[in-house]
Symmetry: D2
Subunit: 243 residues, 4 copies
Amino acid sequence: MILFHLKTGKKYYIKDPKDFSTHLGVIKKEYLENAKPGEIIKSHLGEEFVVLKDTFIDLLEFLRRGPQTTHPKDFGLLVSLTGLSSGWKVVEGGAGSGILTSFLANTVKPDGRVYSYEKRGEFYEIAKENLEKTGLIDYVDLKLKDITIGIDEKNVDIVVLDVGDPWRVLEHAYNSLRVGGYLAVFLPNITSVLKLLELNRKFYLLGIYESIVREWIYRKDVLRPRHMQLSHTEFLILFRKIK
Amino acid sequence: MILFHLKTGKKYYIKDPKDFSTHLGVIKKEYLENAKPGEIIKSHLGEEFVVLKDTFIDLLEFLRRGPQTTHPKDFGLLVSLTGLSSGWKVVEGGAGSGILTSFLANTVKPDGRVYSYEKRGEFYEIAKENLEKTGLIDYVDLKLKDITIGIDEKNVDIVVLDVGDPWRVLEHAYNSLRVGGYLAVFLPNITSVLKLLELNRKFYLLGIYESIVREWIYRKDVLRPRHMQLSHTEFLILFRKIK
Amino acid sequence: MILFHLKTGKKYYIKDPKDFSTHLGVIKKEYLENAKPGEIIKSHLGEEFVVLKDTFIDLLEFLRRGPQTTHPKDFGLLVSLTGLSSGWKVVEGGAGSGILTSFLANTVKPDGRVYSYEKRGEFYEIAKENLEKTGLIDYVDLKLKDITIGIDEKNVDIVVLDVGDPWRVLEHAYNSLRVGGYLAVFLPNITSVLKLLELNRKFYLLGIYESIVREWIYRKDVLRPRHMQLSHTEFLILFRKIK
Amino acid sequence: MILFHLKTGKKYYIKDPKDFSTHLGVIKKEYLENAKPGEIIKSHLGEEFVVLKDTFIDLLEFLRRGPQTTHPKDFGLLVSLTGLSSGWKVVEGGAGSGILTSFLANTVKPDGRVYSYEKRGEFYEIAKENLEKTGLIDYVDLKLKDITIGIDEKNVDIVVLDVGDPWRVLEHAYNSLRVGGYLAVFLPNITSVLKLLELNRKFYLLGIYESIVREWIYRKDVLRPRHMQLSHTEFLILFRKIK
C-alpha cells in the first residue's frame, strides 16, 4: 500500500498494516487495515494521506538500488523502437538490482516471460528482493549465471544487455534469438559503443540512440526548463537478427 | 507478412499472397503462400528477401498517416513515467489516424482496453482501417464522439489527450479517472502548455517533459551524431488524480 | 599573475607579489617578483607551478559573483549571431556583478565602448571591483542608473538587456539604436519571453534561441558525455531595428 | 551595401551602385548612389527597402560556401571558452572557404592577426575572394601551404584547426604557441576525436564540447521549438600549452 501526503506529495510505502510513524505523526494500524484506494487517512497530528493502489511505478521508488541502473527513459525508448509488449519472450543479461528486469516483466506480463542472468550473488539477491516486492517475480526466471558463458533459451523475441562486455554475448544472443528478433544493448561510454559496432559481424544494425528527457518547472505561474538535468545515462544500440 | 530485402533493408508488406512485383523483381504467389518466418525467398531476378513475422512495429510503417501524429518516442516516455502495461483501462481523446491508439492497445493487451474518442468522421475511418491492419482493433472501442462533450467510462487508469483544446476535457477526465489514475496530455506549443497549467484546478501536476532522441550514424567505421534531427514534437504534461 | 599547479590544474591568482601560502607550500615573494610567463616556480614543498599571463578568461574565475550571471556560452551565442567585435558601441542594462559587462568590454576593446546601467548600489560596487580587477574598466562607462527610466546614448550598435522587466526598455532601446542595430535580451523563463514578444511593437524579431553546451569526459581512455549538465540558463531573444 | 526588404525580411547585397533588378521591381542606380543607412528606397513597383550598413554578419550570407564550414555557433563557443578578442595572434589550419577565418579576423581586429594555412589552391582562391568581400583580408595572412608540414609563426596565442588530420599538427602547434596559449580543434566525428585524444602527449586537455543551439518559432501568438534542428556540426576539443 502507498500513502500519498496531500500537502507535500511525499509517498510512504506500507508493507504490513501496523502502527506507522512518520514525522507527520502516527497512523493507526486499524486505519491501514481497512483503507481502500482513494480514501483519506489522518495521522494523530491531523495530516492527511491518500491511499493509492500500489502500482508498479509507485513501488519503484521504494526498491533497493545498485550502483548503476538503466534509467526508465531508456527503457521507454526501447519500447517505442521495438513495440515490446505482453507475450514477449525476453532474455536479459545483467539483472543488476533488477530495476530494468522489473520494467521488462511489467511490460510482457501476463503472457510473456523474462529470463534474467546475473553472475554476482550479491546483485542476484537484491534483484530477487526487488522483484518480490513488486510481485513481478512471477513473470521472471532469475538465474545466478554468467550470460557471457551462454544463453539457455531459444526462439527468443529480444535479448537485452546491460553488461560491461556485451561483445562477448553477440554470438550467444544470435543463436538464442528468432529471426526478426532484437538485440538491445545499453552502454554508458561511446568507446564501448565503438568496440561493439566493430565486433558485430552478424546482426543488422537498426540504430544507435540517446534519449534526453528535458523537464520543465512550473511554479507561481512561471515556466522554465530545469537548470541542471540528467543529460546522459546510456546509449542504446539496437540490432536485429535478419537471417 | 513482411518481406525484408537483404541488401537494402527495405521492407515490403504483403496482405494477401499473390504474385508480388517490386522493382527488384517478381516474387511468386506459391513462394509467399508457403513462406515461414526466417526463410529466404528469391525474386525472379535473384534478389533475396527474408520473411519476417508481422509484429506491431513492422506493420507501423505501412499504416496511413494523418497530418500530425504522436511520435513513438513520446509514447515511450509515457510508458516510462507511468508503467502503462497489460490490463490498464485507457481513455484516449483524439484517435487521429490511430497511431497512438495502436501503441496504447499494443501495450495494454490482452487484458486491458482502450476507449478512443474521435469526432471527425474522416479520421475515425483512417484509425479504424489502421487498427484493423494491425489486428489491435480487438482491444479498442473506437467511438465517433467528441471527448470535450463527455467521457462515458468510469474508474479509468489513464486518460491520454492529443487534442487541440485539452483544457475542455479536464473536468471530464477527473470524473472518469480512479484515484491515483493519470492524465497525460500531449501538446505541441508551449503557449498551449501554459494555458493548460493555468486552467488546471484539481489535478496534481507530476511534471512537464520533452523527449529528445538523438540518433548516431555509423558508416565505414566512422561514428557521429546525425546532423539534422527531430528536436521537437510535443510536450508531455503529466497529472495525477490524488483525491 | 596566475599560477597553474602542474599536477592538479588548480589555478591561483596573485595580486601583489608577496610570500604566498597554499596548502601545497609557500611560494617566496622574490620568485613571484621576477617570474615571467612560462617559467616554473617551486613552493618550499617542491610543488611546481607554471606562471601564466593573466588573460581575461583566467581572471574570470577569480571575480566576485552575484546570485545570477549570464553564462559565457550565452555570450558566445550572441557573438556568433551578431558579429559583435572591436569598435562596437554597446549599451548594457543590468550590469549585475559585471561578468557579462566584462565579456562585452573584452570583445569591443580597444575602439568600442560599453555603457552599462545598474540601479542597485550593491551590484554597482561589485561590478566596478570586477572590472578593475580585469582592467576592462577602461572600456566601460559604469552608471548607477535605472535603464528602465531612459538611455542617454544615441546611435548605439547594440543594446543588451539582462533585467527582469526588459519590456519596459523596448522604447528606450529603439530610440537609442542606429538603424540596423541589435536588441539582445536574456531571459530565464519562457513566460517572460512570451510577455516580451507580445509587447514588442517596433522591433523586427530575428529569433529566439537557447544554447545548450554538452561536455564530454575523457578519462583512462574512456569517452562519454557528462551525466549531469547545465541544460538551461537563459533564452536569448534577438531583435533588430530596421526602420 | 545591404538592402533589407521590409515585407519579407529578404536581404540583397549591392556591390556597385547600378540599376538593380529584383523580382520585387527595379531599384534605380541614382537611389543607390545617394542612399544612407536607415533610409528607405522604393523599387519601381513601390516595394520598400531599408539601407543597412554592411556589417560582417550581414555580408556573411553572401559569401561563397565550400562543402563544409564551421558553424558560427561553434565559433561562438570558442570565444566564450577562450576570451578570444582584439589583439590576439591566431594561426588557423584549413582556411577552407574562409568563413571561420572571417570570424577570427573580425574578432581579433584591429590589433591582432590571423595566419591562415590552406593547401588546396581552389579553396585558397575562395577564401581570398570572401575575405576581400568583407574587407577582413587586411587582418589576415592567407598562405597556400600545408599546415601539417609546419607552422612559421612563433609565440602564438591560439592555433585553430579545422582539418581532417589534426593529430599531424599537434607537434607544430605546440612549438608555435606561447605558454598558456590554446589549441582548438573542430572535428565532426567522435572517432576522430578519440584518435586525437589518444595521440595527444603534451597538451593539457581543457575539455571536449558540443554546442547545440535550439531555435524557437513565434508565429501568430504561438511559441514552440523548431521541429527539425541542426543537432550536430562539430565537436570542439580545447587544449592548452602549460609548459
